[in-house]
């Protein structure tokens, strides 16, 4: 394992110095193998961060307490001279148990993101917010679109989901996913943040299909803030003619209907 691989976790946790952070960032951009590893690791970290906390039942707790008391009694009655903590055999048992838990946790974590597991979950509604956000980092385009659909269909989508969809619309490497994210955000267009993000996309996107979709969303929600950027597009030399035509249609809809 190279130095870079070991730095990935610190990179994800943002524990590196600015210089090291940049170095790792660049290495990820340059190597698809490292990028894949980074995405997988990030996925796992997200899952771990968002894993539900298990609270033991009161029955389990009292059982444990009584077991502990019994054990203490047993130890005292045996009158062992040395402290239990320094008994290497005893420690080994705990180390083995801890290692086993770690390994099991790793596989559970892996399987949550595993395609086969997802295949068995037919209903999109069964995904949690954290799973949806983690899925937006999957290498498969159609899986990221699935994540966008899940976000769209969530009954109680909060700021986290909306932020994730906005980031996807701005930065996803696939035009297909950016388009799907823009479409999904239409549902949340009563939120000012979403309107600002759509206008930003209108100004910055160089994917004609995404631009056309955003023009139509902004026109259908009658967002007057879109007029100025639309007029810029209609007059610009850098946009394709059919995009400029769509901008004209958008301006017409905003001004007259």
């Amino acid at each position: 394992m190279s130095e870079l691989n070991t730095q990935l976790i610190d990179f994800i946790d943002k524990n590196l110095s600015a210089e090291e952070h940049r170095k790792v960032e660049q290495a990820i951009a340059e190597s698809s193998a490292l990028k894949a590893e980074y995405l997988e690791l990030k996925h796992m970290v997200t899952l771990m961060e968002n894993a539900p906390q298990c609270t033991p039942s009161s029955k389990l707790k009292s059982n444990f307490d009584s077991l502990l008391a019994q054990e203490e009694e047993a130890i005292q009655s045996a009158k062992k001279g040395k402290s239990i903590l320094f008994n290497p055999q005893f420690l080994m048992k705990y180390a083995a148990a801890a290692a086993l838990l770690l390994v099991a946790g790793y596989f559970v974590g892996q399987n949550i993101g595993n395609k086969n597991t997802i295949e068995t979950i037919a209903e999109e509604g069964q995904f949690t917010e954290a799973q949806m956000i983690a899925m937006l980092d999957e290498p498969s385009t159609s899986q990221r679109i699935k994540a966008v659909n899940i976000g769209y269909n969530m009954e109680d989508a909060d700021d986290k989901i909306i932020d994730a969809l906005i980031e996807t619309m701005h930065t996803d490497e696939s035009g297909n996913v950016r388009l799907a994210a823009a479409n999904a955000l239409k549902k949340f267009s009563s939120n000012d943040k979403v309107v600002d993000a759509l206008i930003y996309t209108l100004e910055k996107s160089n994917d004609p299909m995404v631009t056309i979709e955003v023009i139509n969303i902004l026109a259908s929600i009658k967002e007057k803030k879109a007029l100025e950027p639309l007029e810029k597009i209609a007059k610009s030399n850098s946009h394709l003619n059919f995009v400029k035509d769509e901008a004209e249609v958008g301006i017409f809809k905003l001004k007259t209907i």
């Binding site: 999109e124 385009t141 159609s142 899986q143 699935k146 297909n176 209907i257």
Partner: protein
């Protein structure tokens, strides 16, 4: 006379092999992603094998005898490392292919066929003006297409897929439909025509702003609203399921119709 016919037949049989021997290039790869960037005229065919085979269909060696034995470079600085007018770069699990041609506007680029192991994922982008039809057949891997003008014909595919063309018509004929991840097909000015087995389980999200949906499948529309005002500015969207529901189908066009047919 008999001998002549035999000779001619033999030559005719061998001719394609003699020609392709000079105009094809192979990469050993049975899985991963093939990224096809900036090829304007290409057909991709899946087959049961372990190599990606790039074939220049109309390579004319006579065309530029002065360049013979020399390597071509394009304005991007890429070199023809395949000998058939393509830059082919392997990087981990992916293979990226670009055309080495500076003749973007004359429509005189070479035509290519790429044979890929069936399970490979295909990513193709072509955002320049023009470009011919894109044909992809017999591929079970994930397909992603992002093009501006090309018409798209996908045949004997399974999904998952994400396909968009601004101006192109999009035809997709499924052999069967993978239930793993969504099928997303979008065009602005072109039609969408989907053919699939009638027992396909799917959830359909169909958006047709100015067009209609036509189908001979048993589409169970979930968002029925017969009192809907046709002049509403809202997007015209149908949510429906097929055979009780299954994998998501996201289909949308802005100005044309959508057809969904039983195979």
């Amino acid at each position: 006379m008999k001998l002549n016919i035999f000779t001619i037949t033999l030559l005719l049989t061998l001719a394609p092999f003699l020609i392709t021997a000079q105009s094809q290039y192979e990469v050993n790869k049975s899985s991963g992603t093939l990224k096809v960037l900036s090829l304007s005229d290409v057909s991709i065919e899946g087959y049961d094998g372990n190599k990606i085979v790039f074939i220049n269909v109309d390579r004319d060696e006579e065309e530029n005898s002065r360049a013979q034995g020399l390597k071509a470079y394009n304005v991007g600085g890429l070199e023809d490392n395949s000998g058939i007018g393509l830059s082919v770069i392997e990087d981990g699990t992916s293979v990226t292919v670009r055309e080495i041609s500076n003749d973007d506007c004359c429509g005189c680029q070479d035509e290519y066929t790429i044979r890929v192991p069936k399970k490979m994922n295909i990513l193709m982008e072509y955002t320049s003006n023009g470009g011919d039809d894109i044909n992809i057949s017999n591929v079970d891997g994930e397909i992603e297409l992002n093009v501006t003008h090309n018409d798209i014909m996908l045949k004997d595919v399974t999904g998952p897929m994400s396909v968009k063309s601004v101006h192109g018509d999009i035809d997709v004929i499924f052999s069967q439909v993978s239930q793993s991840n969504p099928v997303t097909v979008a065009s602005v000015y072109g039609y969408i025509d989907i053919t699939m087995p009638s027992n396909t389980k799917a959830n359909m999200n169909v958006v047709m702003n100015n067009g209609s949906l036509y189908s001979d499948l048993n589409i169970n529309v979930l968002n029925k609203n017969i009192n809907r005002n046709q002049n509403e500015q809202d997007t015209k969207k149908i949510n429906a399921n097929l055979n009780g529901g299954g994998v998501a189908f996201n289909l949308s066009t802005r100005y044309e119709d959508i057809y969904i047919r039983a195979k």
